[in-house]
Amino acid sequence: MNVFSTLWGSVTRGTLNGAVSVALTLTALSVQAADDATIKRGEYLARAADCVACHLDENGGKPYAGGRGFKLPFGMLYSPNITPDNETGIGTWSDDDFVNAMQKGVGKDGKHYYPAFPYTSYTLMSRDDILAIKAYLFSLPPVKQPNKENDISFPFNQRWGMMFWNFLFNPNERFQPDPSQSAEWNRGAYLVEGAGHCGECHTPRNLFQARDSSRNLGGAVIQGWKAYNISGDKATGIGAWPDEALASYLSTGHAEGYGVAAGPMAEAVNHSLRHLTPEDIRAMVVYLKSVPAQTYGLARPEPKMLSPEPPAKGNNPLGQKTFADACVSCHLWDGTGRQSTFAALKGLRTVNDPEATNLVQVLLGGGKLENPHGDHFMPGFARAYSDQELAAVTNFVLDHFGHAKGMITAEEIAKRRNPE
């Protein structure tokens, strides 16, 4: 009996010990799993917030190591290293340091950021989401790369001045779901206004370089590109776009007859939007369609019914000839695109803009959209064609595909080749 009880006891203890150690292992595993899940979520949110767009030097830099230059009205600003390197990155930052940076625009050293860093949008993000992004950034290999010195003129180099600006223009408030709207709408609002920081480009800025909330998402000019009106207005915004078209534009950079992303928007699609889930894209569509209409800026042209034949010789023979030589091979005379609707020109705001802002940018620099089924690419024509030829072909495109009378001159092209 004794023997049995002793044996029984030892078996029980053994089992208990085993159970405890199994439980401990499980706990450790689940902590690990929770970390992995947080890191995964952080990676997704870092994509949604498009951190890499700025924190990457496009001339061969490493992701998140910063060093990209931004030309502002008051000088040059360089994005910092946000890899977890202790000396040159944010390796020594605490959770609070990181949250303060994202929500208040204040760095670990108490230094105020300039609002080129979109903390006035990120401020809507929850602490939880922000810390997931931090967990992701800290899971990456540290990159030792000292930050470049900014070159900002007085008085704007006095960062403490931002305290007053923040008092006026950074609400420092988290996103509050609107209970009268659907969960989908609220998710869309969080992504568009918070993480996605669409308004940083698409909302015009006031005298103090703060977003003019009375014109939310009503379109603006930034870095020499028109960030079009994406409010709910039917003519000048995206109000008339079918939901599928808007979803396609966000997830692929392209919606036939409505828009093709280029320039900074192509970057946003390539780095960020194309990685979002279909559910999140739908949520953004639902929210964007509900944004109060701002009647401002360019209207999308009614797609013209054009012949696949070359048009009769008009009053712009050089433009027509240049289009025939350089453009028609991909875009075709009727603007339907030879083998990809990514090359379709019908119905785009860009071919209906008498200032030809984005059109000239694309002609000069080309464009590229990354896609799981292969990249879509347009070469730049800056080096192969003269100012006169580019002006002529710009005016031809505006006249042929849009309803705008193009009056772009060779001098204007020269200016845009070398912006101030």
């Binding site: 034949e309 070359p310 025939a324 030589d325 028609v328 091979s329 991909c330 005379w333 030879r338 083998q339 990809s340 896609n371 799981p372 089924h373 292969g374 990249d375 879509h376 690419f377 070469p379």
Partner: protein
């Protein structure tokens, strides 16, 4: 596994979705008549037919080709009456100099003449736009196309 209908025969290919048709033709199927020029749809050397339309195979991901769409390459273009006529005209006019771009030139010319049997100079400019020739055989190309249309 994708099924591509090339020159009348079905080919099963196991390739990534984003592989351009040109790579499949040349490297996977060994059909090297179609040439690689610029890789960005700017030179026309890689032109093939997709349902009769001239397309640049270097920027056409295979996954964008629907099952059953007919691909014709330079290897088989001479099997049609028109293709044979164009190839003969090319020989009669001694169009070819170095020859590198000529597969693409012939494919574009056949697509043009198929849609427009009697093209004028402007139609030829438009139809052949995007096929460039470093040897500048353009006048002979124009002559060859016209001889087919007038035959």
């Amino acid at each position: 596994m994708l099924t591509l209908t090339i020159n009348g025969a079905d080919h099963q290919v196991d390739v990534p979705d984003d592989m351009p048709l040109l790579w499949v033709l040349r490297d996977v199927l060994g059909m090297t008549g179609t040439k690689y020029g610029c890789g960005i749809a700017q030179c026309g050397a890689c032109t093939v037919h997709l349902d009769g339309m001239a397309v640049r195979s270097c920027v056409l991901p295979v996954s964008n080709i629907a099952q059953g769409q007919k691909i014709v390459t330079i290897e088989a273009v001479g099997q049609s009456d028109l293709g044979k006529k164009v190839q003969n005209a090319w020989l009669e006019h001694e169009v070819v100099q170095c020859g590198y771009c000529q597969s693409g030139q012939i494919m574009s010319a056949v697509a043009l003449l198929d849609k427009k049997p009697q093209p004028n100079d402007e139609d030829i400019d438009a139809g052949m736009s995007g096929n460039i020739c470093r040897c500048c055989t353009y006048t002979r190309i124009r002559g060859a196309i016209k001889s087919v249309s007038q035959a």
